[in-house]
């Protein structure tokens, strides 16, 4: 069939790029994870040392646990914020012009360099930063709050700051697709605002929530730089483990960690994808 061939030709560039820059690298990582390394180079061999070390080290477990902790907390917070913001935009703001305007307002910071957005928290949260000075001058506290910066708090704050938008957009999209008459029908049937939210809007936003969840989960799980900057290098997640190994030229060990991380992420995503058909939701 020539239609098939046309389709293949059209899909070819995409397939080519993905094969070359996604599949091949992953295979490479998988292969290298069995290689050995010296101080300065890697050499092909087949050994399970990297995995052995990975699975025998208590650090691996702490760090994976820590990664999940960050993911879960960030997910919950971004979900709550994202849902509320999307709800406000979709249902409380009535004119389309305002909806679009306010939505864009939310997306603008997204176009600024992530690193700059991240480090700009530091002068704000520091011991003598804006937040502490303000609180002290208001008399709320006497001593500067230490946990504002270089703590789990600041890490999660930065995650939330960076990634909430990824939750807002798909939920907003789902909400905008809810037929307004469903809300009216619910009200007509005596549902209170809260009941409408609980019984109509929430179930119907599920796909948006899922897509947002996929984004936030993968972004947080794969992060390595936010944790470093915002915890003052005091905390670690899997991404940092990998990037540390990379910077010390321990590619095989980095690869082994990467393979485990990749599997974890893919399992999580596969579970999420069972709950939503992305192609239908676009």
């Amino acid at each position: 069939m020539s239609k098939q061939i046309t389709a293949w030709l059209q899909a070819a560039p995409m397939a080519f790029v993905l094969l070359g820059f996604l599949v091949a690298p992953i295979i490479m990582i998988a292969i290298v994870s069995f290689w050995g390394a010296t101080e300065y180079s890697i050499y092909p061999t087949f050994q399970l040392d990297n995995y052995e070390f990975l699975f025998s080290s208590p650090v691996t477990y702490t760090v994976f646990l820590n990664t999940f902790k960050y993911t879960a907390i960030t997910w919950i917070i971004t979900l709550l914020i994202g849902f509320s913001v999307a709800y406000f935009l979709a249902f409380e703001v009535r004119s389309l012009k305002w909806q679009i305007g306010l939505f864009l307002l939310c997306t603008i910071p997204f176009w600024t360099s992530n690193i700059i957005r991240m480090i700009s928290w530091i002068p704000f949260l520091g011991r003598n930063g804006l937040a502490n000075s303000a609180l002290i001058s208001m008399g709320v506290i006497d001593e500067p709050l230490e946990w504002l910066l270089f703590s789990d708090f600041s890490v999660i704050l930065a995650f939330v700051h960076l990634y909430t938008l990824f939750m807002v957009v798909p939920i907003f999209n789902s909400m905008m697709r809810i037929d307004r008459s469903l809300i009216e029908a619910a009200r007509d049937n005596g549902a209170s605002g809260w009941q409408t939210l609980r019984h109509v809007i929430m179930p119907l936003c599920k796909p948006g929530v899922m897509i947002g969840t996929i984004f936030v989960t993968t972004l947080v799980m794969g992060d390595f730089i936010t944790v470093r900057f915002m915890s003052g290098s005091q905390r670690a997640n899997v991404g940092r483990l990998i990037s540390n190994d990379i910077s010390l030229l321990q590619y095989p060990s980095a690869s082994a960690t990467a393979v485990v991380l990749l599997c974890t992420v893919l399992i999580v995503i596969a579970l999420l994808l069972r709950l939503v058909d992305i192609r239908k939701e676009l």
């Binding site: 008459s181 009216e184 029908a185 619910a186 009200r187 005596g190 119907l204």
Partner: protein, 327 residues
């Protein structure tokens, strides 16, 4: 029912910013009436209905049901229920749960809810499909579910916004018979918005014709069809010719026109179109002054003496059928 559930609209007004969608209309719907709001697109029908339902705030005037001003109550507190144009069934809930929704909101327990919902579904003959979700239903079935869901709240007035427009012509005719039957059985008022005059005629005890945010004419269906007050109503109700005569406008029912030989009728005209309609043939002719007149002839009569486009014919009518209307 002896309790008063009359619905009164008093100088009801809706403004959207600068535009007046509904302009101080007043009407009294008697208990148990089947009323149709009829009018062209954008005339304010939906706005009126939605103000009654409570889904749109009242800009001015009030809505009184059973002597109680309900203008500012929550939709569910009004004693009205609404059936939406596209039915607005909750896509994530089964038919049964859709119907039971209001009971669930009111905190009824599940057995009670299900029992009442099944009763309602029986009324609309949908018990067999109670476990399906709306996507798995045809348009007509969806409509019945929507009806059941609206009726389970035991409203005194049921509001329907173009309930039949999403259906195909066949289903439309079947469902309108069902609506009518149901209304008669329940004895409550139905207020039904439509822009099809055939639908309004078929269903309504009372037709309210709206135009430009105002009520143009209201009355029993026959009265509105037979004695349109204005040229607009005559044209909109269809089946009428509106002619500009020296003494003013008159409306003439097409089926009361007679075709004669040229030069023997009141008017002379040239046939411009012939449209076969099954039992009838609509013959359109252009008369002096460029006005068009349509005559609806029984098919047998037409085909006994067929005319062709271009032919000159005479058109005649009896004096008693001419009906003066306002321009």
């Amino acid at each position: 029912m002896t309790i008063n559930t009359d619905l009164e609209l008093i100088a009801l007004t809706k403004r959207y910013g600068g535009t007046v969608a509904v302009d101080a209309i007043a009407h009294h719907f008697k208990t148990g009436v089947y009323a149709c709001l009829l009018g062209p697109s954008g005339c304010g029908k939906s706005s009126t209905l939605r103000m009654i339902a409570g889904h749109e705030s009242v800009s001015d005037g009030s809505v009184v049901l059973g002597g109680r001003d309900i203008s500012h109550l929550a939709p569910a507190k009004r004693g009205t229920a609404m059936m939406f144009q596209n039915y607005a069934l909750f896509p994530h809930l089964s038919v049964r749960d859709n119907v039971a929704f209001s009971l669930r909101m009111a905190g009824e327990d599940k057995p009670t809810r299900d029992k009442r919902a099944m009763e309602m579904l029986e009324l609309v003959e949908m018990t067999a499909l109670a476990d399906r979700i709306p996507d798995q239903l045809s348009g007509g079935q969806q409509q019945r579910v929507a009806l059941a869901r609206a009726l389970i709240t035991r409203p005194q007035v049921l509001l329907l916004d173009e309930p039949l427009s999403a259906l195909d012509p066949f289903l439309r005719i079947r469902m309108r018979a069902e609506l009518k039957r149901l209304q008669r059985e329940l004895g409550i008022s139905f207020i039904h918005v439509t822009h099809g005059q055939d639908e309004a005629l078929a269903l309504a005890d009372e037709i309210i014709v709206m135009n430009n945010a105002k009520i143009e004419q209201a009355g029993p269906a026959r009265e509105v069809f037979n004695s349109p007050k204005t040229a607009f109503v005559a044209r909109f109700m269809g089946g009428h010719n509106v002619l500009q005569m020296p003494q003013g406008h008159i409306a003439l029912r097409s089926d009361q026109m007679r075709i004669t030989d040229a030069q023997t009728g009141r008017m002379e005209g040239q046939v411009t179109a012939i449209e076969y309609q099954g039992a009838h043939v609509a013959l359109t002719a252009q008369v002096a002054g460029g006005q068009e007149i349509t005559a609806l002839l029984p098919d047998a009569q037409f085909f006994d003496n067929p005319s062709e486009p271009g032919q000159t014919i005479g058109i005649d009518w009896e004096d008693r059928v001419a009906h003066p209307v306002l321009a």
